[in-house]
């Protein structure tokens, strides 16, 4: 266990950034999101949740896959280079780390997504415990301990000090790089902080949310439930929930005409959009109810059914805070509980 004074963090960031890219929560125009560190960046480690999850560090909202360059009637293809430089993500929370684990299930399974894998291989994650969890958090429901996040390095911000514990080899390497700024520390303060966090988590209003009855066995019951008809109505069909979510992994592949060729890129897509999975014959989901249902069935039924019971929700609560119509996954779960009939 090491520690570093909060006042020395800029020096730490500078040191890391000398060698590699460093992503961390930065305030831009009043909103905190993960972004590359620069000397002028307004780093904000106090904000519990960034607006977007940090998933785009590994799975960018838009990324090029390859370019076609036209020369007369000849077309040549230039593949996009894979990530080759190491980088550090500083300040990810336990829920977001679980989010990356969900993405791993999708992108690292065969066939492996080489773009994603390259980023995972080269990224070192410094996780941070959640000092004061908020009422929208429900990570506990998914067995996540936000007091003791596990990544390459775990960190705790306690008072004016940041405590630092390397966990993996990558974590050790980063610790070595930063050793000039780190000093040894004992774990007592950290243990006390963990206890404090856990006791807050116990009191959180959503912590006792029950997911009983949400698994692959009940697929058709849930799918055919009349509850969806009631639930979806306020939904505006925007992609806010999808784009702030740490686990949503759907993307679209499109071509951009550059005038001298095309760039084939992929970008996040949302199952809430009317043109999601649009095909020549149209869409396979024609109503917003179907699209709405898809998102929650995927998170709570299809994904666990295919991934050994792992839910693709991590309880970060971003959708709870950001949905323009105040809908969210918790309300969905509760509505089924209340309705009782189909399964609970």
């Amino acid at each position: 266990m090491y520690k570093i004074a909060k006042a020395n963090l800029p020096a730490l960031f500078r040191l890391i950034a000398e060698n590699q890219e460093l992503y961390l929560p930065v305030n831009t125009a009043d909103q905190v999101n993960f972004a590359a560190w620069t000397e002028d960046a307004q780093v904000d480690l106090d904000k519990l949740k960034t607006v977007k999850s940090p998933k785009d560090v590994f799975f960018p909202q838009s990324e090029n896959l390859y370019s076609c360059v036209k020369d007369g009637k000849k077309i040549s293809i230039e593949p996009e280079a894979l990530k080759e430089q190491n980088f550090v993500v500083f300040g990810m929370k336990a829920c977001d780390i679980r989010g990356v684990e969900v993405l791993d299930k999708v992108f690292l399974a065969e066939p492996v997504d080489s773009f994603y894998k390259a980023r995972r291989d080269h990224g070192t994650i410094v996780a941070m415990a959640c000092h004061e969890p908020e009422e929208s958090c429900f990570c506990k429901v998914f067995g996540i301990d936000c007091a003791d996040p596990a990544a390459d390095v775990a960190a705790w911000m306690i008072g004016d000090e940041l405590f630092w514990k390397p966990i993996t080899e990558k974590g050790e390497a980063l610790t070595k790089l930063a050793e000039s700024l780190l000093e040894n520390a004992d774990e007592a303060k950290v243990e006390a902080e963990k206890t404090a966090i856990r006791s807050i988590v116990e009191q959180l209003p959503y912590s006792d949310l029950s997911l009983e009855g949400w698994n692959g066995d009940v697929l058709m019951d849930k799918f055919n439930s009349p509850v969806w008809e009631e639930l979806y109505k306020p939904c505006l069909a925007c992609g806010t929930c999808t784009f702030v979510c740490p686990t949503c992994q759907c993307y679209d592949i499109k071509d951009y005409d550059t005038g001298h060729g095309i760039q084939r890129y992929r970008c996040w897509d949302s199952c809430m959009y009317s043109d999601f999975t649009m095909m020549a014959h149209g869409n396979n989901r024609t109503s917003q109810m179907q699209r709405f249902r898809q998102r929650f069935m995927h998170k709570l039924v299809y994904f666990p059914a295919n991934n050994g019971g792992m839910y693709s929700c991590v309880g970060c609560g971003r959708c709870v805070e950001k949905c323009p119509a105040s809908l969210n996954i918790v309300k969905v779960v509760k509505a089924f509980q209340k309705q009782g009939g189909s399964n609970s």
Binding site: Y256, T258, G259, H260, Q263
Partner: protein, 147 residues
Amino acid sequence: MSIKENEEFRPKIVAFCCNWCSYAGADLAGSSRLGYPADVKIIRVPCSCRVNPMFILRAFEKGADGVIICGCHPGDCHYSTGNYYARRRMTLLFSLLDYVGVEKGRTRVEWVSAAEGVKFSATMNEFVEKIRSLGKNVRLEDLRCRN
């Protein structure tokens, strides 16, 4: 295309000309041999009211440095009222572009009649000069379109 310091900057300029007045004005400039820089490329539209703001933004996105819309003089529209609508649309669009920090001179509307070959040529010369002085459009262009 990167602009080397010593190389003369040749802007890309899109001119939307209405079929009845300005396109004919451009033809008259041509038959009167009233030159203007080759940087200007004309797109023929039936009326200035056919010019959708999306076309203008599209041009900038794809790397145009200036966009000019030419139509019949107010009152002379072949379709009676088209240029009046165009005038309002462009007034508001240009004002918004100015508001988001696009240099004012990059967009222009000019009323040029079929008889005004001289004016067409003079306007284009002037506009190209203005765009040259403003330099490359870097604020609106999509970087992917550079080569």
